[in-house]
Symmetry: C2
Subunit: 299 residues, 2 copies
C-alpha cells in the first residue's frame, strides 16, 4: 500500500508528538483551583510515550479524518490513561512511588489531591471531546464520547483493573489472563484506534479491520509489558521493574514462560499487519510502524 | 403560571422517582467483572433523595424536552453524584464510615474497589449520555456530555473539592466560601437544571433564567446542608452529623451564624422563584416545588 511518498516514522512521530504536547499543555489548565491544576499537569505533561494519542492520529490519518477531532481525541485518550496511572499508583492500589522516573502524584501532592486530580482528568477528557462551535460536528463528538466511555468504564479499563485486583495471589489460566488484559490495557488501546477511525466517515470495511488491529496491538502491548517487567531494569523502564512478580500477580511470562511470550508478541504483530492489509485503506504505514514499536520497544 | 391542571408535587415526584430508580437499576450493571458491578450498584441504588435527577426531569418538562434524553441525563448526573460520594468518603478524603445509613463503599468493599467503582461510575455517566440509535439526537448527546463534563470537572465539582481540601483549618471569608460551594455542590445542581434544559430546543429567554435558578438552589442546598450539620442528628441525616465542625471546616453557619444562614437560604429561594417567573416558561411548578424542598428539607 505504498503511496509513492517515502514514509519515515521518526519525523512523522516527532511532528505529531509536538502537536500533542502543545495541545495537552494548552488544555490541561494550570489555573484550576487550590493546586488541582498543578497536580493535573504533573500527572500528564513531560512524560510517557504518548502511544495512545499517536494511535488516534495514525488511525485518523488512515481514514482521512477531521484533524481537529483527532487532536482532541488524542488528548482525551491520554488524559484517561494518565488518570488511570494516578489512581493505580495510590497506596490502596499498587502503592507505587515511581512513575516515568518521577515521584508519583500522591507522593508529590498527597493522596486526596491525587484522587481529585484523577477524577478531574477523566471529566476533562470528555470536556475536550465536546467543544462548542463547528470545528467538530456533534455526530463525531457523540461517537467519540461513546467510544471513550466504553473503553474507560466497567466493560473496559476499570473492569480490567477490577479483575486484576481480584487476581492477586490467584492462579489465572491463559484465557482468564487474556480477558483481564483485553479490558485493562487492551480496551483503551483499541479504543484509541477506533476513536481515530471515528474522526473520518463510517467505512464498513476499514472499521472492523481497524478493530482487529487495535485488539491485537492491545494484547501485544501487555505481553511485551510482562516481558519487560522481568527483563528490563527500573532505570530503563522509568518505573519499578519486577513489581508484578513481587506482588504475585499472574503475567504472560508466569503463565506462558519467556520464550512463548516473545513468540506470542510476534504472532500478534502479524495479526495486526494482516488486519491493516485487509482494511482497504490506502496508507496504513504509521499504524504499521506503531504496531512494530509496541512489540519491539524496550521500555 | 398555572396551566389550569392542579399540580401535586407528591405524585409528580413519586412517579419520576420510580422511573429513575428503574432506569438506574437497569443501567448500573451487576455483571461488571470481579465484584465491580456489585460495588457500583451498592453506591448508587436504594438511597439518596435523587434531587439532581428530579431537577433534570423537572427542567426538561418545563422546556418540553425529549423524555428519553431526560431520563438518561437524570441517571448520568446521579452517577456523577454517587461517584463523588464514594471517593469523598474514602480515608484519604473525609474518612467517613456511614452514608445513607449504610457502611460506605470502601468499608464494605475495600478502598481499591471503591476507587475503581467511583471511576467506573464516572465513565458510565458519559456512556449513558451517548446511546447508539436515534432516541437521543447527536446534538443533544454532545450538549449533555459538555454540560456534565464541565459541571463535574476542575471548574466544577472536582475544583470545589480541591478548594474544600485546601480550606481545612483555614479561615475563609463569605466570598471564598461561596466560591467553594458554587463549585463543589452548586455546579452539579446547576448542571442538572441546564442538562434538563438541553433536552429541549434552545430558548434564549428560558436558558439564562434556568441558569440563575440553578445557581440559587445550588447555593441554597449547601447553606441548608451546613445548617443541618449543626441542627440535625446523624440518624435523621443518614450520615455523620457535626463532621464539618469536627474537621474544622468553614461552613455558612461558622461564617454567618445560624440565624443569618437561615435568612440567606430563604433569600436564595426567593431568587430561584424570581428566575422562574422571568423565564417565560409555561409551567415551572415542579421546579418551584423542588426549590422549596431544597430549602425546607430536614435531611
Amino acid at each position: 500500500m505504498d503511496t509513492g511518498v517515502k514514509f519515515l516514522f521518526g519525523p512523522w512521530s516527532a511532528a505529531h508528538l509536538e502537536t500533542i504536547e502543545q495541545a495537552l499543555s494548552r488544555w490541561v489548565v494550570a489555573h484550576a483551583p487550590a493546586g488541582l491544576g498543578e497536580a493535573m499537569r504533573y500527572a500528564v505533561l513531560d512524560g510517557g510515550k504518548r502511544l495512545r494519542p499517536l494511535l488516534v492520529m495514525a488511525a485518523s490519518e488512515a481514514v482521512q479524518g477531521n484533524p481537529a477531532a483527532a487532536v482532541r481525541a488524542a488528548c482525551a485518550v491520554e488524559l484517561i490513561h494518565a488518570y488511570s496511572l494516578v489512581h493505580d499508583d495510590m497506596p490502596c492500589m499498587d502503592n507505587d512511588v515511581l512513575r516515568r522516573g518521577k515521584p508519583t502524584v500522591h507522593v508529590r501532592f498527597g493522596q486526596a489531591q491525587a484522587l481529585l486530580a484523577g477524577d478531574a482528568l477523566q471529566a476533562l477528557a470528555f470536556e475536550l471531546l465536546t467543544p462548542e462551535g463547528e470545528e467538530v460536528p456533534a455526530v463525531q463528538q457523540a461517537a467519540l464520547c461513546r467510544l471513550l466511555a466504553r473503553a474507560a468504564g466497567h466493560e473496559g479499563m476499570a473492569g480490567g483493573q477490577a479483575i486484576d485486583l481480584a487476581s492477586i495471589g490467584r492462579d489465572l489460566d491463559e484465557d482468564e489472563l487474556r480477558q483481564m488484559h483485553r479490558l485493562k490495557t487492551g480496551a483503551l488501546l483499541q479504543g484509541s484506534v477506533m476513536m481515530g477511525a471515528a474522526c473520518g466517515r463510517p467505512d464498513p470495511r476499514a472499521t472492523p479491520a481497524l478493530s482487529v488491529y487495535g485488539a491485537a496491538i492491545g494484547l501485544a502491548f501487555q505481553v511485551v509489558d510482562d516481558i519487560l517487567d522481568v527483563t528490563a531494569d527500573s532505570c530503563t523502564l522509568g518505573k519499578t521493574a519486577g513489581k508484578d512478580a513481587a506482588h504475585d500477580k499472574p503475567t504472560y511470562v508466569s503463565v506462558l514462560g519467556l520464550e512463548r511470550s516473545r513468540t506470542y508478541a510476534q504472532e500478534l504483530l502479524q495479526q495486526a499487519s494482516g488486519a491493516l492489509a485487509s482494511s482497504g485503506l490506502q496508507d496504513t504505514r504509521a499504524l504499521q510502524a506503531l504496531a512494530a514499536m509496541v512489540v519491539n520497544r524496550d521500555n
